[in-house]
Assembly symmetry: C2
Homo-oligomer: 359 residues x 2
């Protein structure tokens, strides 16, 4: 042993992992991991209640079975254009391995302010990367991607900003890239925005779009994510999956996940309520003096004026049972990421905030 932290024998993995938000016990107002405040669709609860546990003695279908078929039908595409995984984090991790790192040392490109798991996956797989600075408005610049690269990842709407980029930005990135590498669009929050690249992904040979059921479908605990893209990208993703874990999606997850696609009205109603609460919460935060950019997601990115103040508010809220997310990182350490809860949960948040600001 050479030291106390992971370096041992001829070595152990010592990479800096992704730090996900806390998962505390109940009894708090939980606005820290962008979960959905509303329950899954009634059809999901029924599918779970009706599920015959005796089926679990057999392995699942390797490709996600009924869930993959339901997703293909939902988007009106072939199942060969769909890849199903254990949450979009797993789908993205496998996509990095399947599509990136083949550029003879050319770096994968993504924004400096984006989902902080991207550099972790690059390091996990030994894929070179470079970050491109976003503007002071936190928007990435499409033309900044016009350079030799081994792949591109964009998050639209952006994490942790909530900003929408849309079709013109995507066109700019694709044009800047010139088809030289695979472009992954992470659409974890796209159900709360107006634009999705999914219809484009089936047509373009080098565009992969990833989605999750953890936000808009209220199924963070079930672990469902998927990707849509050219059949050759999906085949590479499948080969990577089958080189890591043949059966990542449990039978329960496949059945309940498929059921989540059957009640479009419920899903639209939930998304609509969250967008409405989001927009009124943004207005209330602005009247309290926070800098809140227009969100196209299920969270707000509230500027507090300084890192000291952001951290103080974060800790004060936590001490009073309201969990939000604080990132101790360059450029964003003066902000708080606040997930959208039910109106009554937001009222608790604002009561605590007003109490703090009155001090």
């Amino acid at each position: 042993m050479r030291d106390g932290k992971g370096s041992f024998i001829c070595g152990l993995y010592g990479g800096e992992p992704y730090a996900s938000g806390e998962q505390p016990e109940s009894g708090i107002v939980k606005l820290n991991t962008n979960e959905n405040p509303y329950p899954p669709a009634p059809g999901v609860l029924k599918a779970l209640a009706d599920f015959d546990g005796r089926r679990l003695r057999l392995y699942p279908k390797q490709d996600g079975g009924v869930l993959r078929e339901a997703l293909a039908a939902y988007h009106g595409i072939a199942k060969e254009n769909v890849f199903v995984g254990n949450g979009s984090d797993e789908v993205l991790a496998l996509a990095f391995r399947a599509c990136f790192g083949f550029g003879e040392g050319r770096p994968v490109l993504f924004a400096d302010v984006t989902y902080s798991f991207y550099p972790v996956w690059c390091k996990f797989f030994g894929i070179p990367f470079e970050t491109l600075p976003v503007g002071d408005d936190f928007h990435p610049r499409a033309d900044s991607f016009a350079r030799q690269n081994g792949g591109i990842v964009v998050c639209d709407p952006g994490a942790p900003t909530g900003l929408a980029e849309g079709e013109a930005f995507l066109d700019g990135v694709l044009a800047a890239n010139g088809g030289a590498s695979v472009v992954i669009v992470d659409e974890a929050y796209a159900d709360f925005a107006d634009f999705s690249a999914i219809s484009r992904a089936v047509a373009a040979p080098n565009l992969l779009v990833t989605r999750t059921f953890s936000k808009s479908r209220s199924l963070a605990g079930l672990r469902v994510g998927y990707a849509v893209g050219d059949t050759r990208l999906i085949a590479a993703l499948t080969a990577a999956k089958d080189s890591f874990n043949s059966y990542p999606v449990s039978v329960v997850t496949a059945v309940a996940g498929a059921a989540a696609l059957e009640d479009e009205a419920y899903y639209q109603a939930v998304v609509g309520k969250i967008k409405e609460t989001r927009d009124s919460a943004a207005r209330r935060l602005r009247t309290l003096g926070f800098d809140v950019p227009e969100s196209s997601s299920n969270f707000l990115f509230a500027g507090c004026g300084s890192a000291v103040r952001a951290k103080a508010i974060f800790e004060q809220l936590k001490a009073n049972g309201v969990y939000v997310r604080y990132f101790d990182k360059p450029r964003i350490c003066d902000r708080l990421r606040i997930s959208i809860g039910k109106p009554e949960e937001m009222d608790v948040l604002f009561a605590r905030l007003e109490g703090y600001l009155a001090l």
Copy 2:
């Protein structure tokens, strides 16, 4: 694009994936993927029926929560000695990344006849490896591991042989290795054998033991696997997990998996029935002229005399609705791996076999 298979733009993943057994529709006698012919424990079915689907809107605990705690209690160890994953394939994949490849080019060592996923994981992560030939009796030789290495993997009982190696072999491997690297013991089938290295793993700094609920616990469709080892190995596994997918174990999987540990009598009865069926099936196969080594697993490794004959029997059985596993690989292409089903399923197998042999 340069060719038609995966080499595209600046490249896509083109590794040779693990080939898992077929998962055909029902209506056949399925003896091809070592599943358990008996249902999960009644307590698992009850836990599923009682599960409140509304919980799924929240993320799971990152460490497997109640399942990790139940496993620690079951083995009488600290939860810091337990790592939970989405099937033991995922646990092994993460363990390869967490513990192997730090040996400055020294190869990971495993037998030439063993679980065929080991070389796939090495290639997936770019870890050098070398295989060591087993004897003509298919037993690996402990002294063959006495060489510079970047890690060791043994499967006990062995796949696809079903052979038990036991404590003396493990002691020999550990002595041969001299503590220079991590030794992983894959115990996917140990519930059907007499020896387990789990009690040893907590004491040794460089021994990691992996287990699955897919065989003895009748939960292949739920995806539960785990590892037991020194807290430093578990910490490295956790860092690797958190660098790939923070939440691999769904809330349903954690709750139902924990319930599977509560009914020891049911589990022992199921394992006892399978061992009894296994041993009588081995005798019947030997009387039919097959070469069947003593199995300590839930399958038999039947030598058919020649590759041509093994493949012919495999195809004949499949054509008649009985699925077994044939490996078109050096040294084992003259054998069939036959999972143990219910006695009546084995009767169907033997009726088909006797029909074929009478031709």
